[in-house]
Amino acid sequence: MGTLIDIQSLNLYYGTFHALKDVSMDIPEKAITAFIGPSGCGKSTLLRTLNRMNDMIPGTRIEGQIAVGGTDIYSREVDVETLRKKVGMVFQQPNPFPKSIYDNVAYGPRLHGIRSKGKLDEIVETSLRSAALWGEVKDHLKRSALSLSGGQQQRLCIARALAVNPDILLMDEATSALDPISTLKIEELAQDLKDRYTIVMVTHNMHQAARVSNQTVFFLNGEVVEYSDTEKLFSNPRDQRTEDYISGRFG
C-alpha cells in the first residue's frame, strides 16, 4: 500500500490555542484509518485540515506540511474547491440539503459543470448504489431528503460525497448520531468502499475503530500518542496512555 496523505510536523493554532502539536503521519491509500482519542484532543481539527475546511475559521494558523498524492495542499497553486472535490467529507450530523434525494446527490456534479440529464441520472444511481441506499429510495428520488430516516440521510450524505468522484473520504463521527443498525450498515459500507477510496474516520467508539479500520491513531491533547496497525494498537499498545484509554480507564 502506498502512502496517499503525508503529514509532516503539522502545528495548528486557533488564535493562541495550540490545537495540533507537531503531528506527523503517513496515511496509506485504499484503507481505513481511524482517529481515536478523548473529546477535544484535535481529531476533527486534523481531519478538517485534510480538505482545508479549517480555512473558514477566522484566526486559524497552520505550520508544517500536508501532501496529498505528492502535492502540498497548502501551497499557493492549490485550488481549494478542486481539493475538496477530491477529498470528500461526511459530518457527524447528517446534513442533507432541503432538496429532493436526487438533487442532493446531483448537487456536486452540477456544481462542477455536469448538465446532461442522462449523465446525472447515471451518477445519481451509481452513487446511491455505492452508498447502499439505491434499493430503498429508487422509487421516490423526487421526495425530500428530509423525509428519510437519520441513517438513510447519512448514507445519502455519503452518496452525495461520492457523486463528485473523490479519492479520499473523511468521516467525522459519521455514525455517532445513528442507531446501532444504521451504524452497522455504515460500517459495512465503509468496508466496501475502502477498495476504491481512502477513508479517514474519526470515532469515539473504540469498538468501531477496532472493527472497521486498518490503522488507528490515538491522540491526546493535540499530539499523536500512538499510530499503528489497528490490531496491534488494540491488542498490544506500546504506550501506557493508549492502554489506559482503550481499556476505558479515562476519556
Partner: protein
C-alpha cells in the same frame, strides 16, 4: 429502608430543622403589574378596533352616495373639482407604479447587501453595518422626500429633460432606497438562520462562497426572503411623505414614470390638509381610499405571514 424511600415525607414537626418558607415580600406588585400590562395591551387593541370601526362606518356612508362600481372601475379621479368623478383606478395605478419602482430598487439591492453581510462580511464589518442600517431605517421619511426632490429629480431631468419636477420615477427610486435597510435586515436574519451544517456540506463538495450563497443559503432562506419582499411591497404602498413631496398631486392613469402622479396616501394628505368641509362627500373620499389602502396592506401582511410559515420546516 425501602419504606422510607417510597413513602412521601411527612409534613409534621418531627424534623429537628426548622425552615420558614413564607414570603417576606409583598405580593401586591405581583397582582398589579399583570393588570397594568393587560390594560396597555387592551388599549392598543381597542384603538385599532376604533380606527377600523371609524373607517368602516365612514366608508359605508360614502358608498351610500357613490356607487361602489364607479369607485372601483372608474378611470377618472376628480372628487374636488366639477364635474366630480370618483374612479379610484388613477390613484391605484399611481400607488402601484411607485411601489413597483421601489421594489425594483429595494429587493435586488437589499438582497445583495444581505448576502454580502451574511456570507462574505467579517464579523467586525457586520457589527458596524447592522446598526447603521437600523439608523437609516429610522430617518424621517420627509428627509427622503427632499432627497428625492433636490438630488434624484435633477439627476433624472439631466437624462430625460422632459421630466416634470414632480414625477413617479424619482419618488419610486427614493421609496426603494428607504426600504433597502428593511429588506436587507430581514433577509439577513433569514439567511443567518440557515444552519452552518448546510453550508459546510456544500463547501465540502467544492462549492465556492458564491455558489453556497446562491444555491444553498438563498433557497433555504427563501421563506424569510419572500416575506421580507412582501413586507417591502406593503411598506412602499403605505409610504406617504416621499410621494407627497416628490411625486406630485396629479391623479392620472398612466404608464409613464416620468409624469406626475398621485398615490392613495398622498391624496389623503392633500384632502386632510385642505379646507374640505367635514361630513361632505369629498371628505368621505379619504375614508374610502383609506379603507382601500387598509385592505390591501392587510392582505399583503397576511400573505407575508403565510409565506413565512408555509416554508418554515424547510431545514
Amino acid at each position: 429502608m425501602r419504606s422510607e424511600v417510597t413513602q412521601p415525607m411527612k409534613a409534621s414537626g418531627k424534623s429537628p430543622i426548622k425552615l420558614d418558607f413564607r414570603n417576606e415580600k409583598s405580593h401586591l406588585l405581583d397582582k398589579i403589574v399583570p393588570i397594568l400590562l393587560f390594560l396597555c395591551a387592551a388599549l392598543s387593541i381597542l384603538t385599532t378596533i376604533g380606527i377600523v370601526f371609524t373607517l368602516i362606518t365612514e366608508t359605508f356612508q360614502f358608498f351610500q352616495k357613490v356607487s361602489i362600481m364607479d369607485y372601483l372601475f372608474g378611470t377618472k379621479w376628480s372628487p374636488l373639482i366639477d364635474p366630480k368623478s370618483f374612479g379610484v383606478l388613477p390613484l391605484l395605478s399611481g400607488t402601484f407604479m411607485i411601489t413597483i419602482i421601489a421594489c425594483i430598487v429595494a429587493i435586488p439591492l437589499g438582497l445583495a447587501s444581505a448576502i454580502y453581510l451574511s456570507e462574505y462580511a467579517h464579523k467586525r464589518v457586520r457589527k458596524i453595518i447592522k446598526p447603521i442600517l437600523e439608523v437609516l431605517a429610522g430617518v424621517p421619511t420627509i428627509v427622503y422626500g427632499y432627497f428625492a426632490l433636490s438630488l434624484i429629480t435633477p439627476l433624472i431631468r439631466g437624462i430625460f429633460p422632459d421630466t416634470g419636477v414632480f414625477n413617479a420615477l424619482s419618488a419610486g427610486i427614493v421609496v426603494g432606497i428607504m426600504i433597502i435597510p428593511m429588506v436587507c435586515s430581514l433577509s439577513e436574519d433569514a439567511m443567518s438562520a440557515v444552519p452552518r451544517s448546510l453550508r459546510d456540506g456544500a463547501y465540502a463538495l467544492g462549492a465556492t462562497r458564491f455558489e453556497v450563497a446562491l444555491k444553498i443559503v438563498v433557497p433555504a432562506a427563501l421563506s424569510g426572503i419572500v416575506a421580507s419582499a412582501v413586507l417591502a411591497f406593503s411598506r412602499a404602498i403605505g409610504e406617504t411623505m416621499i410621494v407627497t413631496v416628490a411625486a406630485g398631486a396629479t391623479p392620472k392613469l398612466t404608464a409613464d414614470p416620468l409624469e406626475s402622479i398621485q398615490t392613495m396616501t398622498a391624496y389623503i394628505v392633500q384632502v386632510s390638509m385642505g379646507d374640505t368641509p367635514h361630513g361632505s362627500i369629498e371628505y368621505g373620499t379619504i375614508f374610502a381610499v383609506g379603507m382601500t389602502l387598509f385592505i390591501i396592506t392587510f392582505l399583503l401582511n397576511i400573505l407575508a405571514q403565510y409565506v413565512a410559515r408555509r416554508f418554515r420546516e424547510e431545514y
